[in-house]
Amino acid sequence: MSSNLYSGAKILLNCLAQENVECIFGYPGGVTLPLYDALYDHPIRHVLVRHEQNAAFAAQGYARTTGKVGVCCATSGPGATNLVTGLVDAMMDSIPIVALTGQVSTKLMGSDAFQEADTFGITRSATKHNFLVKDIKDLPRVIHEAFYISASGRPGPVLIDVTKDVFQGQAHYTPVTEIHLPGYKVYSEGHSGQIRRAAQMMWEAQRPFVYAGGGIIAANASEELRTLIETLDAPAVTTLMGLGALAAEHPNFISMPGMHGSYAANMGMSHADLIIALGVRFDDRVTGRLSAFAPHAKVIHVDIDPAEIGKNRQADLPIVGDVKRVLPKFTAELIELAAAKSKNASDRQNWWRQIRAWKEEHPLTPETSETEIKPQHLMAEIDRLSGGRAIVASDVGQHQMWAAQLIRFNEPRLWINSGGLGSMGFGLPAAIGAQFARPDKLVFALVGDGGFQMSIPELATIANHALPIKIIVMNNGYLGMVRQWQELFYNNRLSQVQLDSFPDAEKLAGAYGFKGRTVEAVKDMPAALKEAVAEPGPYLLNVKVSPFENVFPMVPAGGAIDEMVLRQPQPVEV
């Protein structure tokens, strides 16, 4: 052990370096002055955002793209409270991020000091776990525990609140060699008996259906998923959080299920006799009315979080474990079963015939028009330029749904979006995080005119670092998804959804020193996109699309997923 004394700030940065942190997204403040002073000549990269909320979103973009723990940093009081949305968002989507916040000095805590807030209390339910460090001796242990908790089991956000006197304090540094959390259990293997029984059920099922989601991506288990699906030759859907877990171009891929899922996906889910749920949580956007969800199916549910199993839907065969460990065991069992008996080929063929028929009945085809830019057409063009390989960081709303339906993702960690919480203003900062994580990749920030205006401050961050992000604003002049619901369920009483006074894109981008353009004519749109992609620096492309387009299919709230509204209801002739 060294006999030197180090400041809390230096100890913290050293621990971050040991955790292989390469990038922190943050914004300084009063109580974090000692930390930022230590950062001044420290090799860890710090990206200055323009609003702390975007630091949390950028850390998420980084984590979602790499699988590593994203890091954000804010000062006490308002800095920390500005992180809350990003933390709750990470909690909902199980994204590993560690948030470092400064806190007023220990002796000032509880006195309503300047920029003091009960960060620890406020973020208790917004995080997987949180810490308040008032003693410098606890700092290394807490940091390593935080990263371990964030990244292991079901990943999630962890917040570390550090008082100013801890940053300024001095201590000898003793490296942490082990992490002891007796109350924290991480499940990985899965019960072997259950696995064998599950494989048997899969083998015997006549209409098996794979329902895979974010858990596959968190576990980096795409390969294992593909092998299982091919061995079983079952149709498969991936949820909004799971897009890319199975290549969109894979023959067994049936798109996304749920409220705005495809017809074939929802019909398949409803008529299956066995649902193989892998790394999913039977979220209400996917299941629709639970009492009517997949009434004839048995359910095999594999998840790393035991609390998810049986939460929304009873599992006939529950398995608590890491899909990366469990799926290969399924595959091995299936191969053995295949060798022993002959496959029930005819029934599977019937099932596939049915699935293909549903796909043909109501495919997800991008609509186009001669006179205006249809949003679906825009997505199809982005898809063409991406070829299944670009990173698309999306905001929240109609554009998000169309993108999920119409843009191919052939690899995991390309589709970056706020699923569970649906936070507007997510897309742009997440794209920043993603671009820092993957400087080699083409990154689209696909946003609506609503969400874009919530994240304008970060145009400065983009300009500052010359990030070649292609910001595509799908501009329909409205808060689209809310307008759609008002049209369909509130007699078209459009209350507070008209987003007037959108800024001139060319002038706005120009104000920040980069290129921007508005495109309105259909014939100009494909070329404009190409121009944006070809630009070596950032580009803001404002695409004016048809204002009253609605996302279909749609399962109305409280509806069953096989009762989709497939197209715009035509006005009744009186």
């Binding site: 180090y6 490296p175 082990e178 609390a307």
Partner: protein, 167 residues
């Protein structure tokens, strides 16, 4: 706070809560009575177990257990019913902890149902004031506490000392 926060955020009503240190001074035992439907019970336990600071959460009703509660009652008495009240206390094995001309303070322990009956009986004699401690529970099962083992960390001590210069 974490525990109660979790319960309240999910809308479960806490009927009683006791907490105290165990033989290990670093560990506390919390006994919580929650008002939930039977099908939610399992979910509540699972959510508790997810908390990092919770070593183990179990449903006491899963096996044989002993439940006890302590209650203090202040009862106003008059000349006529004074002896009768004392007799009731004797029947319920309650102790007199204070006695004045205005009435008594009584202490009773037992399972919660017995204490509920005692309250009803005492109420029939006039005004009473009741303070209950909340239920403590002990399982009679031979369940061992399953704790997680320490996980080794990556960095070797030598490289860890390469800090960016001492202060």
């Amino acid at each position: 706070m974490r525990v109660t926060g979790l319960l309240s955020q999910r809308g479960y009503n806490i009927e009683s809560l006791t907490v105290a240190r165990t033989l290990d001074p670093t560990l506390s035992r919390m006994t919580i009575t929650v008002d939930v439907e039977a099908n939610i019970r399992g979910q509540v336990i699972k959510q508790m177990n997810k908390l990092i600071n919770v070593l183990q959460a179990t449903d006491v009703r899963d096996g044989p257990a002993v439940n006890r509660e302590l209650m203090l009652i202040r009862a106003r008495t008059n000349q006529q019913n004074r002896t009768a009240v004392l007799k009731e206390a004797e029947i319920f094995q309650a102790r007199v902890v204070d006695s004045t001309i205005e009435g008594f303070a009584l202490e009773a322990t037992g399972d919660p149902e017995k204490l509920d009956e005692f309250v009803d009986v005492m109420r029939s004699y006039g005004d009473i004031e009741v303070t209950r401690s909340g239920i403590v529970s002990m399982s009679l099962d031979n369940k061992k506490l399953r704790l997680s083992a320490p996980v080794p960390r990556g960095a070797a001590p030598e490289e860890a000392l390469e800090l960016q210069g001492a202060d």
